[in-house]
Symmetry: C2
DNA sequence: CTGAAAGCGCTTACAG
DNA sequence: CTGAAAGCGCTTACAG
């Protein structure tokens, strides 16, 4: 299994030209069936491997996509986005594209430093995973390179983004609770923290509106400070029968507080989460939650990316992917 | 910020040759200071970006390294290896190398299918993350491409690998327990499951030997079946004063069993783990454990990789990186 | 100090 | 059906 084999070598051995070898190997027309067969056979016999870079240079593509994720999401606790990255790799593979991960440092983000893989023309475009600064996005749009966002959006124009339908999922989840007979339902999450939490809250609110239930301010419970750090959860004076938490980890923390105060779950109160991450199965009882459809989101983002690479002017806007309610044991039918 | 700018454009505008531009931009000698300055200035003004692929093709490098991880490690629960991948990206960056993640499917692994990024010559070598089949490794070695292993080793020859010093870390941890006055110390883990568990067990055993403590078979407690699935942990009839667990998750499970049987931690028995992962802080009390030095391991693996790319004949063998004991609240001084 | 020539390994028109 | 020519954007000897 030598490496140095080129089309030249194959051509020479067969006494033909590289043009013919090139055509045969990529199944282009203009080569006799018999000759084509011979070429392919010899190629595999000699352990020929196509040098895609050479092809790429001729065509002007790199067949690489940069995946950008902000450093702050890559801390000690393995995040959500690492899972996403893997799904993107899988999806890009189907187009024979590779993914190159680029971790955007806080410094580069603030000082508007373009990723070096852009500077070196190593990628045909970027998929941005999660939140990054608005002005950095602005700069990205200025540069002539296709960009698709995943799991994040802003009100900026020309933004192609694939996101979970947070709003609809929480709307459905709250409907489910109401169908189970709950009427006093609290929401746990800081409404001013992230866009996701806001959308989830709004879905919860829509469900209340639709069922003529009043939004009670005392039932909006804070879970984190402005900087996103979790704070101790304060239970309301008058207890609701169900808690809608903006994520599984908060639901997990809430359950600890509830138990510490002598409440039984789901007998005294029901709890639901969002994300279907490790915390949802670490709880006792296991948590009813919403699963984000990562494979589908990655697939769509990859598809958009490839289309934008091929046709720079194509645009898709804001695409919502539905989540799925996972029913476990943390909800009681009243 | 246009993209199409090449050295040709810069040269034409200055009425000089591309050769001179090339030399100036890569700081090679043979260009006057004044001209060099001018060239660099114009380059940045025109928004020139080096086409590394062209350079790469000339030199015969791709400046990409493939990171291979078996599909079974990429399941639902975000694994250890995703963290590793990020550290490798960071380390390779310092050599201006990019990482391309390749998830090796079970099928490809069994049928000895080389990664398509190898077939397409997109990478200069591979870093293998975690366990893969011996015969696949054999094939990898047959192919003329540099390979470095990370967090995994076998007895195969010519294997360059960077691993945690499981043996030494568990030896130190057991010493620590003994220094705290413990004499009856159990080990929790299936000795026939993974190489890591074996090494950790052996470190524990060495510490016992050194302190003239007998290895008691009843104190080797199984935690998983042959297929690696966790089983219910059986406490021994006569209780030890401390448990050395092969990983944090098992320590976490053990704590649940201990508490269910009315034992207080660390008052009735101490527990230690390994990995310093999420389970170590989810426990109550928080777990004393061993932290793997991922950044350092990634750094060394990257360094080896680059050296092997530059000089195919270089080899490093089996390199051990020390772990670090993280002391928390799960151990009591007797 | 500066540049014309050749080449990295392919592909795309264009002839024959 | 087959191939000579030109070119993708660089760099590496080698001349001047």
């Amino acid at each position: 299994m030598k490496s140095g084999v080129t089309m030249r070598d194959i051509a020479d051995k067969l006494g033909i030209s590289v043009v013919t070898v090139s055509k045969a190997l990529s199944d282009k027309e203009g080569v006799g069936e018999e000759l084509k067969r011979k070429i392919k056979e010899l190629a595999s016999e000699m352990g020929y491997r196509m040098n895609v870079m050479a092809k790429a240079m001729k065509e002007g593509y790199t067949y690489n996509i940069g995946i950008i994720v902000a450093e702050r999401f890559t801390g000690v606790s393995p995040s959500f986005y690492q899972q996403f990255h893997q799904h993107i790799v899988k999806s890009l593979e189907e187009y024979r594209y590779s993914a190159i991960l680029h971790i955007l440092s806080a410094q580069d983000e603030e000082q508007f430093v373009m990723p070096w893989i852009y500077q070196e023309k190593k990628v045909d475009g970027f998929i941005i995973l999660g939140h990054i600064h608005k002005s950095y996005i602005e700069m990205l749009h200025q540069a002539d390179t296709p960009v698709v966002f995943l799991d994040f959006y802003t009100d900026q124009e020309r933004m192609d983004t694939v996101i979970t339908d947070n709003f609809y999922a929480m709307y459905e989840m709250t409907n489910y609770l109401i169908n189970c007979g709950h009427r006093k339902i609290a929401f746990v999450g800081n409404l001013y923290s992230t866009s996701s939490i806001q959308d989830r809250f709004l879905g919860y609110y829509k469900s209340l509106l639709e069922h003529n239930l009043k939004l009670d301010e005392r039932y909006i419970i804070n879970d984190r400070d402005e900087r996103g750090r979790f704070i101790d959860i304060q239970l309301p004076d008058e207890m609701p029968t169900a808690f809608v938490c903006n994520c599984d980890q908060v639901a997990y923390e809430l359950m600890i507080v509830l138990k510490a105060n002598g409440y039984k779950i789901p007998d005294d109160c029901s709890v639901v989460g969002f994300d279907n991450d490790i915390f949802s199965t670490l709880c006792e009882p296991k948590l009813t939650t919403v699963e984000v459809n990562m494979p589908e989101m990655a697939r769509v983002a990859a598809k958009f990316m490839i289309k934008k690479v091929t046709n720079k002017s194509s645009s898709f806007g804001r695409v919502l992917i539905k989540g799925k309610i996972i029913r476990r044991e943390s909800v009681k039918k009243l």
